[in-house]
């Protein structure tokens, strides 16, 4: 299969998301698609996989003009997309999900499907139990299932959107091996959309780079990270600077805390955070780190133990009380939790800026305009928050924070952000650390945890292991720890 995208244009209102993009994809290639947030790569992939139509331009498959509408039609044409969060049904078993949408009418052949799954396991080294419920699978296993399912539907071009987020080093290796095998043995085209340059460098034969909706470069691999960054941003970024900060007194204490939810039981967790200290929480998704963070700020119930802010007992107090005492929480899903779709930037500012009963809209507007300039936010005061890109939404969240919070508790503060945006966020966070703010953050990116933390807590199935000096650990060691090898 060969695919040609010719003169693709796509507009979202005033934004020209894809501007005259022409590329050719040949069978057997693994191609990286790079670009900062808002560069237009997701739009292009959604057009290719049928999730949205182009405004103009055409897609040719083996020289034939294709006019499919919708992802189902795209799959029929041989193009399937694996989303970052796979589109599966949690209440179904692996086998049921595998058979979902398959040919076979109302009585599909379960036995044949079962055999196919087992064969796929053997071929790619996957670990898919056909009878397991999908909701109990890890992200990596769900990806494996979706790949196998798409292949069974006859897909010859596989698009993967950030597939290595939230999976361990071994799982990543297994995924990459399977993709290489598919490209070489079955002549599949594999498109990898990723912010992680090392993944692209490891896996891909070539890359396309988009910037502001335009195709700005194509490069055969190998290439160095610096070369790719220059193509993405126009100029090389300085490496992150990590200045040592003055560590002050203990501002936040968690003593012998036990937390339970349906899946995880955590007991006897202790943590002390000092002013200016950064503590990273590492672990595979669902290992308890995010539950712990929420319990720390009153968003999840603590069964026993105590939480103190300064020396004030705050166990199980509502989140508002934590806010009042300078402890602020930032959730990973920015528009689901943190920002409000349907409200403008000015309205967000008015809600956050003070507690006065009557709103001074003029002040709110002036203040958000100042912050837009200060934080270099690409958006206007009157824009609704959902009109901004992910990176700009994160900047808005930073702009809404008070000047000197005592402790910031942040779930994956750079999730889904490109290198530049992620570095910018850390610049802001480290500036606050200098003024005495303690930071607890979680991240699926182990290098981020190592780079920015003073100490690290590793979570595995509710158990916690502390690395007292983050600068003395390695990616390899941390990779093993998040897999549960504590001893």
């Amino acid at each position: 299969m060969n695919i040609e995208l010719q003169n693709i244009h796509k507009y979202f209102g005033r934004v020209h998301a894809n501007n005259d993009i022409t590329i050719t994809l040949n069978a057997g290639q693994i191609i990286g698609v790079l670009g900062e947030n808002g560069a237009g790569k997701s739009t292009l992939m959604k057009i290719l996989s049928g999730y949205q139509p182009a405004d103009s331009g055409q897609i040719l498959i083996d020289g034939q003009v294709m006019t499919y509408q919708g992802p189902r039609a795209a799959i029929k044409a041989g193009i399937g997309m694996l989303q970052q969060d796979p589109l599966d049904v949690g209440a179904f078993t692996v086998l049921e999900n595998y058979m979902f949408q398959a040919e076979g009418g109302i009585l599909p052949n379960r036995r044949a499907a079962y055999r196919e799954l087992i064969a796929a396991n053997e071929r790619f080294g996957f670990e898919l139990d056909p009878n397991a419920l999908v909701e109990n699978l890890s992200i990596a296993q769900r990806q494996q299932l979706e790949i196998v399912r798409l292949l069974s539907l006859g897909v010859k071009t596989l698009i993967l959107d950030e597939p290595t987020t939230g999976i361990s080093a071994e799982q990543k290796q297994a995924l990459f091996d399977a993709l290489r095998q598919l490209a070489s043995e079955e002549q599949l085209i594999v498109l990898l959309v990723s912010h992680k340059l090392e993944d692209v460098i490891t896996l891909c034969n070539s890359v396309f780079v988009l910037r502001n909706g335009e195709l700005v470069g194509q490069q055969e691999m190998p290439a160095t990270p610096a070369e790719l960054v220059t193509m993405m941003f126009g100029e090389g970024l300085p490496p992150p600077e990590r200045e040592s900060a003055q560590i002050g007194d203990v501002t936040f204490r968690v003593e012998d805390v036990s937390i339970h939810d349906g899946r995880i039981n955590m007991t006897g967790i202790n943590l002390r955070i000092r002013a200016g200290e950064v503590i990273g929480l590492a672990g595979l998704e669902g290992s308890g780190q995010e539950l712990f963070m929420r319990a720390c700020v009153g968003l999840h119930r603590i069964h026993s133990g105590e939480v103190y802010v300064q020396d004030r007992r705050m166990t199980n107090r509502p989140y508002r009380q934590f806010m009042k005492h300078g402890v602020l929480f930032g959730a990973a899903g920015r528009v689901e939790e943190g920002l409000i779709a349907g409200m403008s930037l000015t309205e967000h500012m008015a809600l956050s800026m003070d507690q006065k009963r009557v709103i001074n809209w003029q002040t709110a507007q002036m203040r958000i305009q100042d912050q837009i300039a200060h934080y270099n936010i690409r958006g206007r005061a009157t824009d609704n928050i959902e009109q901004l890109s992910g990176g700009n939404q994160q900047r808005v969240l930073m702009a809404l924070l008070p000047e000197h919070p005592s402790v910031l508790v942040l779930e994956q503060p750079t999730r889904g952000l490109d290198v530049e945006s992620a570095r910018w966020i850390w610049q802001q966070l480290l500036a606050r650390r200098k003024t005495g703010t303690g930071i607890i953050f979680s991240s699926a990116e182990l290098d981020e945890v190592i780079t920015y933390s003073d100490r690290i807590l590793v979570f595995y199935a509710g158990r916690v292991h502390e690395i007292a000096d983050a600068s003395r650990t390695t990616l390899d060691e941390l990779g093993h720890l998040i897999g549960g090898e504590f001893e």
């Binding site: 989140y319 689901e336 779709a341 409200m343 309205e347 809600l351 507690q355 992910g390």
Partner: protein, 371 residues
Amino acid sequence: MANLNNTDSLNAVLVRLAFFILPIIISLAISALLVIAVDRDPMEVSQLIWEGAFRNQRSQAGVLNLFITLVLVSIGLIVTFRAGLWNIGVEGQMMMGAVFASIIPMAFLQNESLDPAAFPQPLIVGGSILLAMFGGILWATLVGILKIYLGINEIFGGVALNALANVGAIYLISGPWEPDIGGSAQGTAPFPKETLIPQISSEFPTSLLMLVICAVAFIVVTFMLTRTRWGLSLKANGLNDRSALLLGVATDRIGMSAFWVCGALAGIAGSYRALFTFDSLRPLASGGIGFLGLLVVLLVSIRIIWVPLVAFIFAAILSGSTRLRISLQLDSSLASVLQGTLVLLVLLSNGARDAWFRRRNTTQPDQSGEI
């Protein structure tokens, strides 16, 4: 480029206008077809509705009386809708307003030693209205507790409490507040004149006091929604309560306060039904006005500025349609058919308009934030 933008925005305005006018025309056409189907002339029907509403001062006052209750509950419902709460229990809150407003008049009726003329009328009426507000708030609080602290959907809680309010009123009418002449559950004995809300004149029987209360409620609630942190918090809570919580909104308190405001206004509306419309407590005194308020709020898409106009048109059509039975032997529920069709088509049209704009890509990137 500027010209292109101007043409685009002009087109967008024209499309919006079309999506606004079309459902009105279609619902009028459907109602006209219904009228034709039963061998009547649609023009004659509309003429009769107009005359029924505005032919003289008494009929005009009738429209205003319906308008007063409708606009009060609609303003209250705007508040709960803004907070993302479907306060279907407004009917019961109105009913409890009527019940609580009847306490003072019933005390005079049942206690011969008390002479209402010995008390200043503003005190009696003011006290009754305050009690009605309390009754409405009490009932709204129950829905609020069920919703906010026990996680029971406000629609289910509201429906149950509506039924309970009606049963409670029937119990009072056929029990402790039964008229001396015997219980037929038709209503209490007429309240003493001094306990009733005064009318402007017998030729124009409506209440200036209540019109003033409506105006004040409209101005205050509009100010609160657009200018205060409370109003913005309601909006935040209605759009995304999890984010609102993280932005510092006391989501439980804000939800409860929305119920209170709605309950208080529904209570006042209920008092008007008991102390003006019927001069007594009747079963089902709320008369479906709470539900009609829901239609008004749906029709105006929670924009308070349009509430008085739409409530007035609804009141005029409903009030005017009573003449249909007399003159054409047509049931006045034709007006309800018109209103129901209109609301349904407006909602349909809003959905179609949004889909149309989405397809035209006049919206920005999807919620993933990526483009």
